[in-house]
């Protein structure tokens, strides 16, 4: 069993080596002189062909999906509980379905409440 995850690990190592090599290629070619390198303050400014940005970019940012993120965490829990039930549905039978049904009803009440309160709106 664990041997299989060893393969995943090897794949991870190879993938990282492969992907690190690609952005390093230009640096190598630059040393040979194949790639042009002409520094210019305008060229290396932000959004070169457009207007100068007003103010700083790295500021506190009002992201509009705070409630959605909270809801996501809650509902992701739902899926974690559903997965073990899904593979064993035949053994758990009607009892298991009823348990999951009650679980879903509780979550649905919360979901409807959130919808009514307007937490699902992008405002």
């Amino acid at each position: 069993m664990l041997e299989q995850y060893g393969y995943v690990g090897i794949l991870l190592i190879v993938a990282i080596l492969f992907t690190v090599t690609i952005p390093l290629l230009p640096i190598l070619l630059k040393a040979i002189g194949l790639i042009p390198q002409k520094k210019n303050p305008t060229k290396s400014s932000q959004y070169e062909c457009g207007m100068q940005t007003i103010g700083k970019t790295w500021v506190q940012y009002n992201f509009r999906y705070y409630f959605l993120a909270v809801l996501f965490v809650l509902l992701d829990m739902l899926t974690i509980f559903l997965y073990p039930w899904a593979v064993n549905i035949k053994e758990l039978g009607v009892g298991g379905l009823a348990a999951v049904g009650i679980f879903l009803i509780i979550l649905t009440v919360g979901y409807v409440y959130a919808w009514r309160k307007g937490a699902l709106e992008w405002k």
Partner: protein, 370 residues
């Protein structure tokens, strides 16, 4: 028994040392995966540009090689020789690391996608959960890219990327549960073997939800809000050039290939099919899905942000839960021999639910500040 394990057995019988028995098949398999993925990506790039050209009544690239098949290679050489520009105010380290973090998980996904009978790197017994876990890492790389670029447009794109990922993760995950319910396993090989009739017939609603959710997760049109050229220019990769940009570009097609493979495996019967060899069937299914995605890109306009979010939360999520309950009841109540009844029932349910739900609410109108 997968091909990899057979290879291992062969080496063991030839009295190779233990570490070589373990490593050689792995390296061979991984190299095969890399070659496979890169080749298909190159073909996909050509296919998309060509097909998009036909959709717009022009020929598309047709100069390099027969039918322009070498155009992506020419593009790659051009991109390789571009100057590598990093903005002065950018976070240099994150700017370098971001494309790597985007691309590595995409390659990792191919470990559990079976391309033929037993042709899989590792047949994990939690294959689906592995896919869900790994596929959501890419968005961190996208956000890193957008933050490190120190550009307001790209920051907006990064915020949108996370909002999109957070919203569409749930329907995707829930629609896969439906597949696991019927197949009774998370292992990708077992799911393919369990499909006498492809699950797209058995669970049409699940397939539609998964398709739309996956479309949003791989940021394709009409959900490509984070690179919306008309408003935020190019989104998260606006400050990237040269090979680093190429990584994002490759990654975009890589994730489409991965998701098309996952869709083919979960819903279309994977490598199963009559007459032709398994790998050909797999490729046919993947190309059909990819062509369908291009078709949607050529046809549909881009959604607005608030429409995008409410589509996920108010339409796909309840649908996914209802779909799950229907399938669970059917698995418990109806015996397996009544497949055709299940198929007819589910098509009826899908049509009725989609019609009812689209009457029930609208995606909002008027102006919304983003």
């Amino acid at each position: 028994m997968t091909l990899l394990e057979q290879f291992q057995l062969l080496l063991k019988n030839a009295n190779w040392p233990d570490w070589a028995v373990y490593l050689t098949p792995a390296i061979a398999g991984i190299l095969l995966i890399l070659v496979f993925v890169l080749t298909i990506i190159i073909v996909f790039i050509w296919w998309e540009r060509r097909l998009l050209g036909r959709f717009q009544l022009r020929t598309g690239p047709n100069r390099c090689g027969p039918e322009g098949i070498f155009q992506p290679i020419a593009t790659a050489i051009k991109i390789l020789l571009k100057e590598d520009i990093v903005p002065d105010k950018a976070d240099k380290l994150l700017h370098f690391v971001a494309p790597i973090i985007v691309f590595v998980p995409i390659l990792m996904l191919f470990a559990v996608i079976p391309v033929g009978e037993g042709a899989i790197l590792v047949d994990l017994n939690i294959g689906i959960i592995y896919i869900i876990a790994i596929s959501s890492i890419s968005v961190i790389g996208i956000f890193m890219a957008s933050w490190a670029s120190n550009n307001k447009y790209s920051l907006i794109a990064g915020m949108r990327a996370i909002a999109q990922m957070v919203s569409y993760e749930l329907p995707v995950v829930l629609s896969i549960v439906g597949v696991a319910l019927v197949a009774g396993s998370f292992s990708m090989l077992k799911i393919v073997e369990a499909q006498g009739i492809p699950y797209i017939l058995q669970q049409p609603l699940g397939f539609i939800i998964f398709f739309l959710g996956a479309l949003a997760e791989m940021n394709r049109s009409p959900f490509d809000l984070l690179e919306a050229d008309s408003e935020i220019v190019a989104g998260y990769h606006i400050e990237y050039s040269g090979m680093k940009f190429a990584m994002f570009y490759l990654g975009e097609y890589g994730i489409v290939l991965a998701y098309a493979g996952i869709m083919a495996t979960l819903f279309l019967g994977g490598w199963q099919g009559p007459l032709l060899p398994p790998i050909v069937w797999f490729l046919i299914k993947v190309v059909i899905i990819f062509s369908f995605i291009i078709w949607m890109r050529a046809t549909l306009p881009r959604l607005r942000v608030d429409q995008l979010m409410s589509f996920a939360w108010k339409f796909l999520l309840p649908m996914a839960v209802i779909n799950l309950v229907i399938i669970a009841v059917e698995v418990l109540v109806l015996p397996l021999s009544m497949q055709w009844l299940i198929i007819i029932l589910n098509f009826g349910f899908a049509a009725a639910l989609i019609l009812l739900w689209s009457k029930l609410f609208t995606l909002g109108g008027g102006r919304v500040e983003v």
